[in-house]
């Protein structure tokens, strides 16, 4: 078990969301899209070093810009 940010996760890795930093606006938006503390997500890919991150939450695929992806802390299984 280790705590890493979403951007540091490797592709095809699963993890559980531990923390989301960021203002209430962003928190709310995340919440309504199904991204919240305790939720399991799968990282799909990452474009470039500072690029956006694609994740799978439930049945939807979401793309997050690098900055917002950095605000999500994940508990990774390995």
């Amino acid at each position: 078990m280790k705590k890493i940010s979403l951007t540091q996760m490797k592709g095809k890795q699963k993890g559980i969301i531990l923390e989301i930093s960021g203002g209430p606006g962003l928190q709310n938006k995340f919440m309504s899209m199904g991204i919240y503390k305790g939720r399991e997500i799968t990282k799909i890919s990452h474009i470039g070093l500072k690029g956006p991150v694609a994740i799978k939450v439930g049945r939807s695929v979401l793309v997050l810009g690098h900055g917002v992806a950095n605000k999500i802390v994940i508990e990774s299984h390995d």
Partner: protein
């Protein structure tokens, strides 16, 4: 008594398709979040009663996070609850995420009916939903539909009549997701499926290397197809019609009007070497219809056909992800690629689509870059018309110059424009095989839109030019700008008229440049100058409506500077 029906749902669940089915009003729908940026209204006849149907932009929740969502919430709260019905459109393939909004609607005490859309697709994905148990768990009617084929819409209409108000207790975000988890467990069954080709492609298109390859391939293929269809429509259909059927009629008309009469000048224009030349005569019956229907319309058809395909398959949001990094350098994020691509068809919908960008700064940068650096179909057809007969290098050259301007201007704006640029946060839809019927409907809608918008303006433009030319009113004007145009751009002073008329409507300008017998270099510079200026009067209007007078003036000033600098540089750089 129900007076209004609201269509509410997450982005990209097919609200607009349901709206078309209910009201018969055709609207554009695509496979990406945020196709609808305006609130559409239509009328539904239900047992002799007329009910207003309102199609709202997609929203994930009733706690507004963007401007579009604020509008949804305020509209829903406006009328008395007894007078409205809410059709909550839900994507059956993604029930869990969609139910968050459903629960919020119920908690708000709104009379809701749930429309489980895309049922056929859910089946393909191995998702089956038990309607009865979902109805029990939610406490409201649930109707499975497939709006594209129209199945289920009838049942939906029947159930609207006895819609009831079943408020749920208000709950916290966490409890809401927990409740959804329980509902899903009881009402949804998933059959495990092996990865199919579609999923493999979906995966590959969001990975850096394979994604870039796919994107480049798709883009190159798209340009080729647009060009191929456009060229063939012109050479095989439009040109033969004009030359073999229309021209003989005009040749008979010409002597009747009398060579030197004002009417002849107005309707047919000048005879070039004693003959009617559709590109140069500049008459209301000659050049005006030829430009619209034989030069621009064929490319409108081919461009929107291909764009429609890309939209409906679901390629655009994937491009947004791949380009996110690059677009950050010019103060935008990946999603801005969608307004830009729409702008390649016509700048007006492009600027409207910038509503999907959250911050004002982003909208200003995107709208300015679209109106200055993104040539619309009409403008591109003109570039081909002016430079096509020379080597392909010149046409490509115009695009290269535009690209350079785009990047340089973007970087400058990114460093100077005040405000903030938010980050990309968007859902990627599954790839879908487009339905031919929706593709055709969308294409027809856009062609109709083009003809209604462009034809009157082009006729008016040609009329104004002819009257001014006949009474020699341009001379004053050309004299005034001659030093700039002649001294800096190396163009004859008569081209001022074409450049200025180009602000009104680009397609008109080309007919005015043709008779001037410009050299290739001059044509190239003129084409670039036309390309960097606002494409038409409608662009000014929509820019003003969307961003206000201040921003319009700023963008216009930027446009003048860009034109001045680029024109001068090219004039002195090219030998």
């Amino acid at each position: 008594m129900i007076k209004k029906i609201f269509l509410v749902g997450n982005p990209n669940v097919g609200k607009s398709v349901v709206f078309s089915r209910l009201t018969g009003v055709q609207v554009i729908s695509s496979n990406y979040a945020g196709t609808t940026v305006e609130i559409m209204r239509g009328v539904l006849k239900l047992e002799d009663q007329e009910i207003e149907v309102i199609d709202l932009p997609g929203t994930y929740s009733l706690e507004p996070a963007s401007k579009a969502e604020e509008v949804v919430v305020s509209l829903l709260n406006e009328p008395a609850k007894e007078e409205i019905a809410v059709i909550n459109i839900v994507d059956s393939t993604n029930l869990e995420r969609n139910l968050y909004l459903t629960l919020q609607l119920l908690e708000a005490g709104l009379p809701v009916i749930v429309c489980l859309n895309m049922c056929d697709e859910a089946e393909h994905h191995g998702v089956s939903i038990e309607i009865d148990s979902l109805e029990k768990l939610l406490g409201v009617a649930v109707v499975p539909t497939c709006a594209i084929t129209g199945s289920g819409i009838k049942t939906l209409l029947e159930k609207i009549k006895d819609i009831k108000n079943k408020p749920r207790e208000k709950s916290s975000h966490r409890d809401r997701w927990q409740a959804i988890g329980l509902i899903i467990e009881q009402a949804q069954r998933l059959t495990h499926r092996h990865h199919n080709l579609r999923e493999v492609l979906e995966d590959a298109s969001v990975r850096p290397f394979s994604g870039a390859l796919i994107a480049i391939g798709v883009m190159l293929a798209s340009f080729e197809v647009v060009r191929f269809i456009g060229e063939n429509l012109i050479s095989r259909i439009a040109d033969p019609i004009f030359l073999n059927f229309y021209q003989p009629l005009l040749i008979k008309l010409s002597p009747i009007l009398g060579d030197e009469s004002f009417l002849h000048h107005l309707l047919i224009g000048d005879l070039i070497n004693g003959k009617i030349d559709f590109k140069q005569s500049l008459g209301l019956l000659t050049t005006a219809p030829y430009i619209e229907f034989a030069m621009v319309l064929p490319y409108i058809i081919s461009f929107y056909f291909v764009l429609g395909l890309l939209e409906d398959i679901g390629i655009l949001p994937r491009l947004a992800m791949l380009l996110d990094n690059l677009l950050h350098h010019i103060g935008l994020h990946g999603f801005a690629i969608i307004p830009v691509l729409l702008g390649l068809g016509c700048n007006v919908p492009g600027i409207l689509a910038t509503r999907n960008l959250e911050s004002r700064r982003e909208r200003f940068i995107a709208a300015t870059l679209i109106s200055i650096g993104v040539p619309c179909v009409a403008l591109q057809a003109m570039i081909f018309g002016l430079l096509g007969k020379f080597s392909g290098f010149y046409v490509t050259g115009v695009y290269l110059v535009l690209l350079v301007i785009w990047v340089v201007l973007g970087v400058i704006l990114n460093h100077t424009a005040k405000g903030y640029s938010p980050e990309l946060l968007v859902e990627i839809p599954p790839y879908r095989i487009p339905a031919l019927s929706t593709l055709c409907k969308k294409l027809l809608l856009r062609i109709k839109g083009f003809i209604i918008e462009a034809a009157p303006l082009v006729l008016l433009g040609v009329l104004i030019i002819n009257v001014l030319l006949y009474f020699k009113l341009f001379d004053l004007f050309t004299g005034l700008f001659a030093p700039v145009v002649k001294g800096l751009f190396g163009l004859p002073k008569e081209s001022v008229v074409a450049l200025v008329m180009g602000l009104f409507r680009k397609d008109v300008a080309v007919g005015m440049l043709m008779p001037l017998a410009l050299s290739v270099k001059q044509l190239f510079i003129a084409a670039v100058l036309l390309a960097v200026s606002f494409p038409c009067a409608a662009t000014f209007v929509v820019f003003f409506k969307e961003l206000g007078l201040r921003d319009l003036l700023k963008a216009t000033l930027i446009m003048c500077v860009v034109a001045l600098v680029t024109g001068t540089l090219l004039n002195f750089a090219i030998r």
